[in-house]
């Protein structure tokens, strides 16, 4: 698709729905930056999309009636957090000062970033998140523990450790039913503010999903789908934090993963 000077409504819609390729996303980004009316239209589309999700999410938080479970030979499960806690029992120690570790890694790294870390434009911070994801994905092929500050052996320790550093309650979604297992997390910085990035790996494929939680001074923004450097990404900002999900897997995978996390957050 070729974007003209001013994107039409169908293009804006595809932009908000994460259906454009990166070149077109960049073109729409530029058009939005130059045209406040266009930016307002995008905000309207994003807000209504977020409102739709909020309006219909109730069944995700309700117990499934027995009459639906029984024919499938299932019973009501335990709540989300209890399931999460039950699944991860062992403990692992923290691995040191993360900012220093990150700096040392970059100073000594022989891995090349796929593109310049410092990009221009409003999406800088998002590009940084995408870069960190891609860096991990490349490194993970050799040693997945290399870039993880805290491993996956003890989820409650992992959550507590990052909760302290982010000064907020961090609860990680259990994505096993979606085929992803937690690999660990690390501290990073997004726009000079503390952030944590967690990685999940597909059990039967090379796909990786990352979840980034960062403090932010930017205003709230509704659930936004976009693409950066070959990654499908979804992010939203609320109450001083930004949440970013990235993956090389399909858009539907990302949507489900982000929904699972959002569902868990609402229960906390």
């Amino acid at each position: 698709m070729t974007i003209m000077q001013r994107p039409d409504d169908a293009t804006l819609m595809a932009y908000v729905d994460g259906e454009l390729d990166e070149t077109d996303v960049a073109a729409v980004d530029r058009a939005i930056a130059a045209d406040p009316a266009l930016a307002r239209q995008v905000r309207v589309l994003r807000d209504t999309t977020a409102a739709l999700r909020a309006a219909f999410n109730a069944p995700l938080h309700e117990p499934v009636p027995e009459r639906l479970l029984a024919p499938l030979g299932a019973q009501r499960g335990r709540p989300w957090r209890a399931r999460l806690a039950a699944r991860h029992v062992a403990m692992v120690a923290a691995l040191g000062a993360l900012m220093v570790a990150g700096t040392v890694f970059y100073a000594n790294s022989s891995y090349e970033l796929p593109y310049a870390v410092v990009a221009r434009g409003q999406g800088n911070w998002l590009n940084s998140v995408a870069n960190y994801h891609l860096l991990y994905a490349r490194t993970a092929a050799r040693d997945e523990r290399l870039l993880v500050d805290v491993g996956p052996d003890d989820m409650s320790y992992l959550e507590d450790w990052f909760s302290k550093r982010l000064k907020r309650d961090v609860r990680l979604p259990n994505l096993e039913t979606q085929g992803f297992q937690i690999q660990g997390g690390r501290v990073m910085f997004v726009e000079s503010l503390p952030a944590a990035q967690f990685f999940y790996k597909a059990a039967n494929a090379d796909d990786i999903v990352s979840m980034t939680i960062a403090q932010t001074r930017r205003p709230d923004v509704a659930w936004t789908a976009t693409k950066r450097n070959g990654l499908n990404m979804i992010y939203w900002r609320t109450n001083g934090y930004v949440y970013v999900f990235s993956t090389t897997a399909g858009k539907h995978v990302l949507h489900n993963v982000a929904s699972t996390f959002e569902e868990g957050q609402e229960k906390i």
Partner: protein
Amino acid sequence: MTAVNRSAAENVAFRRQVGRCFLDALFRSQLVALLPRLRRFARGLTGSADRADNLVQASCERALARVEQWTPGTRLDSWMFRIVRTIWIDELRARAVRDRVHEQENLGERIFDGVRHMEARLTVEAVREAVAHLSPEQREILLLIAVEGVSYKEAAEIMDVPIGTVMSRLARARAALLKQLERRRDAEKVVRLSR
């Protein structure tokens, strides 16, 4: 020789039976995990919790009866969404209430025509009411794309229509939703002023 052949045949039958059991167990476990999303989709379509659960129940029954049609490793959610919508459309047809919306494959659809400002905070109730006033096709496409997060291509497969139809239908659904929300906002203003 006959005994050997029968034994081999029995082995094949046994292996098939084990395979079916495995497939059945896998299918059931994945279907259970999918139930909350199916209920969400069905509730959005029907606008009622009870009707939605009836619809999901009927869909699960049909899916169990046709489990051999599902290929492990493929998208169970898309397959189930297709079943849910098929049963729902059948029900609507039976009740003869299905809207007949004239389709025009016009990708230049204006979403924002008539919408002055939508800066106000959207309430969950207002959105549900607005969606309830949309046609079944518009509800369906909004639920699939905006709520369930399926891609345009997947939505086209689920609804068995070309991707262009998905885009035009989605644009019309969004335009109709915005107008409904705008109308409600204006109505609220009138009510406030008349007090």
